[in-house]
């Protein structure tokens, strides 16, 4: 087995350290929100997880374009790794949102455009994974997944924009707020620092996970090769 590259080890340490700082900023440094109280602290990682979801799906769509143009299966591995991470982070985004909504909106779930579009986005990428499972030929699987990753990405901007174009109760914290939103607030400087540091941290968490996932995929392929060798020998 090939040892972990030095850069990846360094990235592991860096991401862990940054994550610890982010936890401190979110839990202790950022002030307690006056109306909502402690539960507002969910917001920092909620938005960050949503951001990673959107970023991951963007990477998948771009990797998909390269799969179609170049036909290189490494782009396909990148697309798959990114979708898996994106699905997990979108789920974190939805669950943390639900935890926040219980005290603030007085319900775990409401059929609001933002919640619906985010869930639809999650379902599209679950369908992406199911599509991959259903096709055996690796070359065809790569092409079909690329096509679906590109078509499915249309849902991502809609999710992002849904709180800005539809009438919704989901607050828009960054940018102008809709008067119908419930649970909106203005960020203080300290909150803003915690918020942007959270985004920064989660981006690094994404990159680290992506790298590990790609390495895992390479190991998997090497095992397949060894198996074939053992069978033919």
């Amino acid at each position: 087995m090939q040892p972990m590259p030095k850069a990846l080890k360094a990235l592991n340490l860096f991401t862990s350290a940054v994550f610890a700082v982010a936890l401190y900023l979110v839990l202790f440094y950022a002030p307690r929100e006056a109306v909502m109280g402690e539960v507002q602290r969910v917001f920092y990682f909620h938005v960050a997880a949503g951001w990673v979801g959107a970023l991951a799906f963007l990477v998948t769509a771009i990797a998909g374009i390269f799969v179609l143009l170049r036909g290189d299966h490494r782009w396909d591995q990148l697309a798959l790794a990114s979708v898996e991470i994106g699905v997990v982070f979108t789920l974190i985004n939805i669950v943390t949102g639900s935890i926040w909504a219980r005290p603030v909106w007085n319900t775990w779930w409401t059929w609001d455009p933002r919640l619906v579009t985010a869930t639809v986005m999650e379902l599209i990428y679950l369908a992406y994974l199911m599509l991959r499972q259903g096709i055996e030929d690796p070359d065809r699987r790569a092409r079909f997944a690329a096509v679906y990753g590109i078509v499915g990405f249309i849902s991502v901007p809609l999710t992002f924009l849904s709180i800005r174009i539809f009438r919704t109760i989901h607050p828009v914290v960054v940018g102008n707020n809709d008067p119908t939103a419930q649970g909106a607030f203005d960020m203080t400087t300290k909150m803003r620092i915690a918020f942007f540091f959270g985004l920064f941290t989660f981006t690094f968490v994404y990159v680290t996970l992506l790298w590990h996932r790609l390495r895992l995929q390479q190991f998997k392929e090497r095992i397949e090769e060894r198996k074939l060798q053992a069978l033919t020998a």
Partner: protein, 240 residues
């Protein structure tokens, strides 16, 4: 015919387009003719649509007041379900009898095959809609034949069929193809269905055009996006 040289050149320049249209027409004609002889697709879609409408009637207790608000939703769910049935079948026929390979061997642009299949599917979906609408009107005593609503039905079907044909041609290659198509198609098509339901509802409730326009715009935007994206990537789906 006293035709000048410029006229001749123009005809020749137009010829590739003509050939392209003829290829599309041939694919559509093949589908329509096959369907006319077997009638499996249309009859299945029709009976299925009627069953869906009946089930909704029991499930939702469609009384007079509920009808006005729910009718557009019931209609679109019916069209979407019947549509998936048709899309799946139309691609499965091509795959099972090896027709798709034959089509791909034809010396025409691949996108002509896509448009041919998509327009063929649109025709079948349109036929089902044309039969379901009056039945729905009679059963629920509502007038669904309003020009605005018919336009929405057409626009919604275009978007749905464009992305549906693309995804169906992928789903037929999968092991789990019959279950896969709705799973792939519904989440992607939701913006189209949502806009279509809202716009239809607007027309049925005689809302102001100012309230309907945003939904019509969304519908048109998604139609354009889906047709364009499907046109661009279809080559990669059928490539062997």
């Amino acid at each position: 015919m006293p035709e000048g040289a410029a006229g001749m050149q123009a005809t020749q320049a137009r010829r590739p387009l003509l050939e392209y249209l003829r290829a599309i027409g041939a694919v559509i004609w093949k589908d329509v003719l096959a369907e006319f002889r077997s009638r499996e697709l249309l009859s299945a879609m029709l009976v299925f649509s009627l069953l869906v409408i009946l089930i909704f009637n029991f499930a939702l207790e469609l009384d007079i007041r509920a009808r006005e608000t729910i009718a557009s939703g019931v209609l679109w769910v019916t069209f979407a379900f019947a549509g998936t049935l048709g899309l799946n079948r139309s691609m499965a026929i091509e795959k099972d009898r090896g027709c798709l390979d034959g089509l791909l061997l034809a010396p025409v642009d691949r996108s002509a095959i896509f448009f041919g299949k998509a327009i063929g599917n649109l025709i079948f979906m349109g036929l089902v809609e044309v039969i379901v609408l009056p039945i729905f009107s009679v059963l629920y005593n509502m007038n669904l034949f309003q020009s605005g609503l018919l336009l929405v039905v057409l626009l919604g079907s275009i978007g749905y069929v464009a992305v549906g044909t693309l995804l169906a041609s992928m789903a037929v290659h999968a092991r789990t193809r019959d279950v896969l198509l709705p799973i792939l198609l519904f989440p992607v098509a939701i913006p189209v269905l949502l806009a279509a339901v809202k716009a239809s509802n607007g027309f049925l409730q005689a809302a102001e055009m100012a309230d309907i326009w945003p939904w019509l715009n969304l519908l048109i935007v998604y139609d354009v996006i889906f047709v364009a994206v499907a046109f661009m990537v279809f080559d990669f789906v059928v490539e062997e």
